[in-house]
């Protein structure tokens, strides 16, 4: 039990087979250490989102075990959710609410009283939307909605942050801002981050360790420099292509 709680995320033979018969992930053994930023990379349909959704308690695995800080996410999902927060890909917000109301609503599901006020203030600061925060979300751009959703997730300061394609659809400026925020929260508050991305440069910039998923299986995982040396690639893109090539 002690080795399980050492990890922020630990999966043992995690398998997800959908009712249609298609395989989401296959015997996945993944370990994310506490305090690190771990990147899951892989092409579309490789099982990144499935993995993150299972960890975030949105999907149930067909087989295998998943622990978040030692808590079994299948047996005790509510306790697991208290330890983490999840930003889905293309996460939006309620159109009829203002940005400020959305922040208040999402954070009121986790905090009350003074802690809630502090979290709201923090989220407002992260969102950095100025006067637009008091306007209905239906008028927001995609980037604004994404930043707004991220602000509530970061301000909740969970022990584990699960981010599915955090910069997907954002312009360069906003992407940099989001990356910096993720890094800042990881460093300042020791928040463990598990993220998925198509953007290898982003992963290289942000992550301490990465795992390459392909067709539901983890091909390789480790520190970025270690992987480059092991496979012989100058960057993550080359590592990915070489590892994928070995499979074929």
């Amino acid at each position: 039990m002690s080795d399980i709680s050492e990890y922020a995320v630990l999966t043992k033979n995690l398998t997800k087979i959908y009712s249609s018969g298609s395989i989401g992930v296959k015997s996945l053994n993944l370990s994310v250490k506490s305090g690190e930023i771990y990147g899951l990379i892989g092409p579309n349909g490789s099982g990144k989102t499935t993995t993150l959704r299972i960890i975030a308690t949105l999907l149930k695995p067909t087989n295998g075990e998943v622990y978040v800080y030692g808590v079994d996410v299948v047996k005790n999902p509510l306790e697991a959710r208290k330890l983490m927060n999840y930003l889905p890909e293309e996460a939006g917000a309620y159109r009829d609410l203002t940005g400020l109301d959305f922040i208040k609503f999402m954070l009121s599901l986790r905090f009350t009283g003074r802690r809630l006020e502090e979290a709201i203030g923090e989220a407002i600061e992260i969102a950095d939307l100025g006067g637009d925060l008091k306007k209905p979300i239906r008028g927001y751009s995609k980037g604004m909605k994404r930043i707004l959703a991220l602000s509530t997730v970061l301000a909740s300061r969970p022990k584990l942050l699960v981010l599915d394609e955090p910069t997907s659809g954002l312009d360069v400026e906003r992407s940099i801002y989001v990356r910096n925020m993720i890094r800042r929260y990881n460093r300042e508050y020791g928040i463990t981050v598990l993220l998925s991305s198509h953007n290898m440069l982003e992963v290289e910039y942000l992550c301490n360790r990465v795992g390459i998923l392909y067709r539901g299986s983890l091909l390789i995982e480790g520190a970025i420099e270690e992987l480059k040396n092991r496979v012989g690639g100058v960057n993550l893109e080359e590592v990915f292509l070489k590892v994928k090539g070995e499979v074929h």
């Binding site: 959908y18 149930k60 959710r81 917000a93 599901l109």
Partner: protein
Amino acid sequence: MTLTPLLIREVKAFIKNPAFILGIVFIIGFYGILGRLMSTGIQTAVEQTLNMQIGVVLHDSSDFAMRVLSVANKTSGGRLQLVPSLEAGLSIYDIVVVIPSDFTIRVMELDKPINIESYIKINTISPVVSGAKTNIITVISDLIRKSISYVIAIERNIDPSLIDKHVLMNTTLQVYGKIMKLEEYSTISFLMGFVPMMIAIIMGINATYASQFTATEKVEKAFEMLLAQPIPRRNIVFAKIIGSIIASLLMGIAYFTGMFLILLSATTSTPNTIGNTTGLSVNLIEIVSGKIGFNALLVSIATIILGLIYSGALGITIGSIVSDERIAGALTAPIIFTFIGIGYALIFIGLPVNIITGVIAGITIAPLPVIALVSTMIGDFTVLTTSLLFAVLSTIVVMGIAIHIYNRDIVVLGLRISRFKLKERK
């Protein structure tokens, strides 16, 4: 012509929507079966009613009265049966006509109408059967009038068409043992049809609201974030049910206020036959308190509450397994029609109120007030208790299904029907 591709796209969006197709198939199938059941039930009931024997209490033992009755009996195909008293007649027949002792005297006096008392026993909730029985009274009234003319014409050797005596039929109904006038029964009959219909509509609207709200949340992409929060999923379901109930109640209050205002302006006072003005001849509150009982009213209120929770949970279940409002709407519409259909089928098929129909009413909720009304009138609450028990049980089951779905993959992945998919899976 830019309209054509736009129109094709709109039509295709529905035709290619599996939920829409399923909805159509379901409605056609459901109403087809329901139609056959109703048709058979109604046909049987009407045939039985039209061939029924009618008891006649003859208080006037004159030769003239006997001859009139004999003519009327022959004309009706021998359906009139003499009975010694009203009580004896009603114990055998559903319709009893009482010929008064002054029958012959009144016939012979030119300016006096002939008053005949008639009694109808109604032990069914079917308006078709009760309607057929009350129509028989009109037929008998006409039959007696013509028979009088015929007998007088034979006696005096004149043309029967020259004789026209006015026959006034004063009808009393015994509905599930309760004595009431025809006007009062008409009001109760109207309530039996109107109340379940209204509850079915409210349930349908509520289910639509709940499914639309839930589906909209998914479209807004905030759904997965919500599911990942440290709150029990059942709380999300409860909040959605209560939210849709509040929305439906607000809409319901607005609707009933509108209806009340229409009724108020349409029924202030109407002139009667002797030129005076009078209010409505039937007082709804008097009928509710005197004939129906406030128990039935309380059950109706309880039915609305249960129906709202039931339909809210049902709507949330639908909204949570589809990917957008359009599919939610296409799936919810058949449910509205189902509620209305079942509510009406139970009434129109003319099924007896017993444990089985009580269970059906309980499961479908909307017809519960009819069961309450009948139970109150007969003074036996076994069926009503069973109905209410099943209503509460089915509401708990539907809520349980909604909560169960919220804890399953389907809430994220969406329902898949055949090769079509209602939700894109990653």
